[in-house]
Subunit: 402 residues, 2 copies
């Protein structure tokens, strides 16, 4: 259930995909244009970056959602079309119109995402050739689904796909998704994008609600460097190709698999975080509100000191506890206990005796790390995922010249 | 006026200092105990970390300030006495009582700071020898002042001292200060400390007000890694040894030199930020409120992506603009222009044509970097200082085992 291999990857019924190359990247042979098409008008919803400085595609797609008649998502890598002013807005709208021409639909029914360099204008002449090429390659195959995921990659080292299905009534409902992002760590790249698709017959309001629930528990619970992108976008399209009756029970089941697909893609982004040696799961439990838990989790996962300690295999719990202390959530030191890889290091505000050498050896030997904070304040909790901070991260982000 | 060399360093009248070694560090020959003593009861004020997880010395000193009868500040390095529970609180109070015995004053008139490893109990037996040794070495000399500054160092590579004087009435008023901190980047160390002293005849309320003004423009305007310490403390003691009449003009003059000393010490911390190759000055201007400017400055100086770009000599203005965009301050892209080392890169929301190669060469060739953000929103401004983020920073913070 938790892993999907190439053979199990499939698009939901009613969707086709393509991934092609049109020369937007410095290596022009690399795929850079992905297209996802719903055969019929579909419900669509989106969640976007809250950065005030946002890419033109974010403005265009956001203004069109949620809607009942979406037909396609066009995604290019190699150029973020962000910080490009009025010309960038026109370019983003132009991209959707070019796709609409091919599909014979309204430009308003096409959504757009761009990822790559900030502050450069899109080369329309390349896209004007790439978009018809992408539409001519459309197919519902697993291979095309993977091609599209690959065309979204910037500094990602692997394509990120996930799929789940559940029996509902007489048939299976499927949710499938792709994502790109090695977090915000790549030179000049600043985006995580995800496109989720389902054959369930959702209306736009249901799609919006399912997507927000899933994003709050997946893409909003990961952090590599705390730098919020100008282009972050997660979209959900529901083709309704499987016409089943959706009661509360069925909706809950769909929510479950949308959540699972979103979590798997979010985790894949952290597993691909450039330069990272460790995959860190952080549980914050026992707070009064979920927001409190999130603030504490964010302070810890944003701290370079916590992340360098894990990189070095150092069970330096003082850094974790002190990050919790400046998160802005009121607590007393006695309210807090901390475990690292199952070992209790800090109990109700006081240090414990623990075998630092063996704990450090475990940190060095294993990629996966578990940090658990238990507060005595309430019953709320959150789970976050993050990477460590290595010298390789800095090299990747510094040794680059525009 | 902006630089002080060894010969110009002096304590204000009415103060003595000492720096000795009592074996708290892994290299027991290194000085680790600093003592500052006012000959007579002095006005004192303090500004402390707002971290809820704070060191025992912070709790003890904070509870005693502001006051009119302070006599001494005892500072140890090598052990932060933080996250040490009730026993840590008793140890901090015991330190002040040991100093008070030597000076024949009330323990309440002694302030205490500790910096170093978190979560270990203080070795009282070592301090019980070190404190009388420090008192026996007290002297008003520049050499002793420097010894005390040196004894506060943890991973600092140089002692940080600053001094200013101004003619007021018949004589000179002096403000001198010491600080420690290579920001929060050192393994298990998590502190910036500063002690400012003046011979001006301030009352506690005046000392408090002068200190808060200075801290807001100096130590609160620096950032290395955004991880707030458990032990940050800045103290101001005013001996009143120079008995001059202080009107508003004199107070403004003293404020000016307190500010200058604080800024010089804060800048010294950034210049000593471990692993750093660049010293970055950031001006945020034209915001509606000073708080808005601070929020934007903090988002930029906390961003690992901005800091790695500078480390790599990359004029990657998209990272700077996008960090401003998530600071939580409302603005439109058209409201913002950005200069890097005097070159306009982003003008009223659109990219400019600039010579990226020559700008990059300048970034690589020079340690000092100037980033200027101009908003069209109001008349407020703030200046921040920060360091870049290098692979060396990560090595220093990762390649360490408890």
């Amino acid at each position: 259930m938790n892993n999907t291999d190439a053979t199990s990857i499939a698009l939901p019924v009613g969707f086709r995909a393509a991934g092609v190359s049109c020369g937007l990247k410095s290596d022009p042979s690399k795929p850079d244009l992905a297209l996802f098409v719903a055969d019929r008008p579909s419900a669509a919803a989106g969640v976007f970056t809250t950065n005030l400085v946002c890419g033109a595609p974010v403005k265009v797609s956001r203004s069109r959602l949620p809607r009942a008649t979406a037909r396609a998502v066009i995604v290019n890598s190699g150029n973020a079309n962000a910080c490009t002013g009025a010309r960038g807005d026109e370019d983003a709208r132009w991209m959707t119109a070019e796709v609409a021409k091919q599909l014979d639909c309204s430009p308003e029914d096409v959504l757009v995402c761009s990822t790559g360099v900030i502050g450069r204008f899109l080369p329309r002449e390349k896209l004007a050739k790439g978009i018809p090429a992408a539409t001519s390659h459309l197919a519902p195959s697993a291979e095309n689904f993977r091609d599209a995921a690959t065309a979204m990659m910037t500094t990602d080292t692997f394509a990120k796909l996930a799929t789940r299905s559940r029996r509902v009534g007489a048939g299976d409902l499927r949710v499938s998704g792709v994502a790109k992002g090695a977090a915000m760590i790549a030179p000049n790249m600043a985006t995580m994008l995800a496109v989720l698709m389902t054959d369930a017959p959702l209306d736009p309001r249901q799609a919006d609600s399912l997507l927000r629930h899933a994003v709050a528990r997946s893409f909003n619970c990961i952090s590599v460097d705390g730098h919020m992108s100008t282009s972050d976008t997660v979209l959900l399209l529901a083709s309704g190709a499987r016409q089943v009756r959706l009661g509360d029970g069925e909706l809950a089941m769909i929510q479950e698999i949308v959540d699972e697909v979103a979590v798997e893609l979010a985790q894949a982004i952290i597993r691909d975080a450039e330069g990272a040696d460790h995959f860190i799961t952080l549980d914050v439990r026992g707070t009064k509100t979920r927001d409190d838990a999130i603030r504490i989790a964010r302070a810890i996962t944003d701290s370079p000191l916590v992340k360098t300690a894990i990189a070095g295999g150092d069970p330096n719990w003082g850094r974790i506890v002190s990050a919790a202390g400046y998160a802005g959530v009121p607590f007393r030191e006695e309210d807090l206990s901390l475990k690292l890889n199952g070992v209790l290091l800090y109990k109700a505000g006081a240090p414990t005796d623990f075998d630092a050498k063996s704990l450090s050896q475990g940190l060095r030997a294993n990629r996966d790390v578990l940090i658990e904070l238990d507060f005595a304040l309430g019953d709320e909790a959150v789970r976050f995922w993050t990477s460590d901070l290595t010298a390789e991260y800095v090299r990747l982000n510094a040794d680059y010249t525009t």
